[in-house]
């Protein structure tokens, strides 16, 4: 027991002290934060001044095309042919031509606005122009029907459903799937990522010991199984450390960045185009949303979900970790791993894909089987948990995962103990089977 702790300590410290670990730990959150912030940055950085020429023969639209930070509007009253000639020689961004409405109906106008440009214009810019025109047309149409914008706004309705779960005993509880779904989806995804990242790390570690030929010295002091488990646990601790640091750093970084970028005093609604407008609208409702998230969070059995997450996280990792270790022991070089990696990665990828369909239909037989079979259950059961699957299914899935873990580490241990001492042998599935049978 003492020796396995020594092994865990070495595996942990030697990895945590590596430069690549430190670099990845710092770079990870920077990447994550920049991923989250890029859309925001891109919206506010689109500040290149552009000139839009407006040739409005109808005379209705001039007032709608306001100058903004990004756009200067220049109105022309000359005929469209003349303006086009001028436009050709200018470096203006676009020329919007609105035909005279006396000759066509207002509905026909919708399809008769031409935009001239020197080069194809972006979707966002197109939207901007069409939105302006749409507003005018809508106002005219409303007026024709004898309505005002205020009336329309007043008649709008927005319904949010309060789901209440009525169980057999008649007690009611507020059920909310969205937040729970989001949480468990994230949980399943984390498990998936963790198994892949750190499983591969276990594999490389085993291969390193094998190719550096230190393994025979070590297993003359400890049992191969101890070495394998020590490595798997040590790498898991490395993973926990890295994840914890990532979460912490991402949180710090993104809160720093958002407070810097999203200073509310600097925000002016007219400066923001489409995408940002949406965020602002949400911002207005933020108070409400926050309150409802809080009540929803209270309704979810958070501690239960967290406990389950930890169980499936650790269980899934241990089960796959030993298989990764066995692959590392069976081969001599990274290039040979491919053939043995396939049966490990397929159930993982499958369960990740299944997870998304299962969210649509959490009580299907696919969902049932995938959440019972230990190879897919860590990821899939996480996705099913918010839909309150029967207790016996959860229990069965957990028991089977423990059995699955014991089974794979037994198999892996047998492959491992023979494999680490085999050099320069072409290993096939047949040889692996022989190793498993060998006493």
């Amino acid at each position: 027991m003492n020796k396995i702790i020594l092994i865990i300590k070495r595996e942990y410290l030697s990895r945590v002290r590596k430069k690549s670990f430190i670099v990845m730990t710092i770079l990870g959150p920077v990447l994550m934060a920049s991923l989250m912030l890029t859309p925001l940055l891109m919206d506010s950085s689109d500040s290149e001044l552009r000139t839009v020429w407006l040739c409005d023969e109808s005379g209705l639209f001039e007032a709608e095309f306001n100058n903004t930070e990004a756009i200067r509007t220049k109105v022309f009253t000359e005929s469209v042919e003349q303006v086009k000639l001028l436009f050709n020689q200018s470096d203006a961004f676009t020329l919007v031509h609105i035909p005279d409405t006396s000759s066509i109906s207002i509905s026909d106008l919708e399809n008769n606005v031409n935009v001239y440009a020197h080069k194809p214009i972006s979707f966002a810019n197109k939207r901007l122009i069409s939105r302006n025109i749409e507003t005018v047309i809508e106002s005219i149409k409303l007026k024709n029907e004898g309505l005002t914008r205020e009336t329309i706004n007043k008649t709008r309705a927005s319904v949010s459903l309060n789901t209440i779960i009525l169980d057999n005993s008649g007690t009611e509880k507020l059920g909310s799937t969205e937040i729970a779904m989001g949480l468990s989806m994230a949980g399943g995804f984390l498990i998936y990522i963790f198994i892949f990242l750190y499983g591969a790390m276990v594999m490389r570690g085993v291969m390193e010991e094998k190719t550096s030929r230190i393994v025979e010295i070590i297993i003359s002091s400890v049992k191969p199984f101890q070495l394998m488990m020590g490595k798997i646990i040590g790498v898991a601790l490395v993973g926990f450390t890295q994840f914890a640091l990532w979460i912490l750093l991402t949180f710090v970084l993104s809160s720093l960045a958002t407070s810097y970028l999203m200073n509310p005093a600097e925000l002016n609604p007219t400066e923001l185009i489409d995408g940002a407008e949406l965020i602002l609208q949400e911002g207005a409702n933020e108070q409400n949303v926050l309150a409802s998230i809080l009540t929803e969070l209270q309704s979810i059995n958070l501690s239960f979900l967290l406990l389950m997450f930890l169980f499936y996280f650790v269980g899934g990792y241990l089960m796959y970790g030993s298989l990764f270790a066995a692959v590392g022991a069976a081969v001599d070089s990274e290039t040979d791993t491919q053939q043995f990696m396939l049966p490990i990665t397929i159930p993982l990828i499958f369960s990740f894909i299944a997870l998304q369909t299962i969210l649509e239909n959490p009580d299907s037989s696919l969902a049932f089987w995938c959440s019972i079979i230990p190879f897919t259950s860590p990821i899939v059961m996480m996705g099913r948990l918010p839909f309150d699957p029967p207790m016996w299914e959860i229990a069965l899935s957990m028991v089977l995962l423990i059995i699955g873990f014991i089974f794979t580490s037994w198999i892996a241990g047998r492959i491992y103990r023979v494999g680490i001492l085999m050099y320069g042998q072409k290993v096939s599935y047949k040889t692996l089977w022989k190793w498993i049978k060998q006493s």
């Binding site: 590596k18 010295i217 003359s220 001492l421």
Partner: protein
Amino acid sequence: MKVLEIQSVSKSYSNHLALDDVSLAVPEGKIFGLLGPNGAGKTSLIRIINQITMPDKGQILFKGQKLNSEHISQIGYLPEERGLYKKMKVGEQALYLAQLKGLTEKEAKTALRKWFERFEITPWWNKKVEELSKGMAQKVQFITTVLHQPKLLIFDEPFSGFDPINASIIKDEILRLKNQGTSIIFSTHRMESVEELCDHIALIDQSKKILDGPLNEIREQYKQQIYQIDFSSTELSFLNTLPEHLKLIKSSNNQAEIQIVDQSKASDLIRFLLDKSDLKGFEEKVPTVNEIFIRTVKENLS
């Protein structure tokens, strides 16, 4: 007193028999040479002694006790296929390996300091293994093998990777350990080092033990009554007409090797030779381990 008794051990892998009913006894405080051609089963046997693999049949006694995991700390093993963690620092790595053998960190540190000073490699303590040359790494490896003062040391080709100077340092260390009472199993292909070091040898070929005993006894046993004679003159034509019970093996300028084919004594040979010529030297030719090795393996083949 036997430090290790191997009692009719057999081991087979999926497609071949690696050890077939092998029995050996390793005497205490001696150097025991474990010899055999490639693939004979030496490494299999050594791995069984180190409890890396289990025998299919038979058992092993360590100082009269059935071999178990308690004995790991009393055995030191330097495998033929050896290496160190490349990215780890020398001192840290040696500490780790010593602790795996059951030393406490403090014990290991003190012992390591002593050995590092002895080999004059203290400045390496904080170097990474990948910065060392192969010979340097081998020295570190040797230290980690003997550090925990095992009762039984197993060296598999200990001199490979060493230059002659370092090889002789290691040889002296092995002899010093033997004088301190450590029993040593020594597996090698370099027969001249067997002759220099071993007190006892065993030969394994094709999974079977074919020879076992104290080195001097075996050499006696393999003597073929061949005598090397130095003459003072170069006129040796009489050698071509030797009586029937004598056989000329080879002759050069003023030297010859003669084998006595029947039961007659060496003194009879001397008497016969004195009649013919002047003798400068007369010596019985004792077979080298190399000759014994080749002969027995060839005989075993046929």
